[in-house]
């Protein structure tokens, strides 16, 4: 019953920051499991506080899980399309090279495995995925 019935394209939307609620950890475990079962990720979309999952400026104690690093590795290894909502990101201090240069912030906080884009990417994902699942 638990084998891959058919190949399904998922979009996983993450609404919460790691460490603050369990939602990001659940989303991570779900994403790993669907890939292991032979399904596909059409897109990861980080929205609202979820954008904090894509920070590269984090330091986590040895006995704690580094969720940002876990996402980064999974995205790189599986070559996932990972999009961070621009409206949510920049006011929360998740900044890419372009924003950093434009506003002379002198620092980049976004992991290179994700890219900042608009909510249009979420709507595109609802059109082109078989299933959209939200964790918040």
């Amino acid at each position: 019953m638990y084998g891959a019935i058919l190949n399904v394209k998922f979009t996983v939307v993450v609404h919460s920051a790691p460490y603050s609620t369990q939602a990001a950890a659940s989303a991570y475990r779900f994403t790993k499991a669907l890939l292991e079962q032979g399904h596909d990720v059409y897109r990861l979309f980080f929205f609202g506080d979820g954008v904090h999952n894509t920070s590269k400026l984090t330091v986590v104690a040895q006995d704690d899980t580094n969720w940002q690093q876990q996402w980064d590795k999974l995205i790189e290894l599986q070559k996932l399309d990972s999009v961070v909502c621009v409206t949510s990101a920049i006011k929360r201090g998740i900044i890419d090279e372009a924003e950093s240069a434009r506003h002379e912030l002198g620092a980049v906080s976004l992991s290179s495995s994700s890219e900042i884009s608009g909510l249009g990417q979420l709507i595109d994902a609802t059109i082109n995925s078989d299933r959209v699942i939200n964790f918040g």
Binding site: V13, H15, F47, G48, T87, G118, L119, G120, L122, I123, D124, T126, I127, N128, V132, N134, G136
Partner: protein, 124 residues
Amino acid sequence: MSEINSSKTVSIISRQAPYGSNRAHQSLDIALAAAVFEQAVNYIFMGDGVYQLLGNQNATSIQSKTLVNALETLDLYGIESIFIDSQSLRERNLTPKDLALNASIVSRGEIAKIVRASDSVFNL
């Protein structure tokens, strides 16, 4: 964006009060994005979400933007399928004339059908 013209039905269930959290604003952002990309949008107000529709709001007092002003212009974006849960109004001692928006007052059973007929649902 390979098939951006194919239209699907996106339903947004907005269940939180405005201002206290940003969930109400996020619902609006998703609804507007879906409308801009020419998807069919159902915008459903339930639970504390019905508070978003009260008249006479002015969020400058808390240095925020008045959400209901944006909700009043949804039809300009082609969003006309707006539903308000009657039970949620009743539980909060509100009637349609307390609201700044004209929309369909519906039962839970009708909301169930709208949700079932949607391609994707954002439930915030």
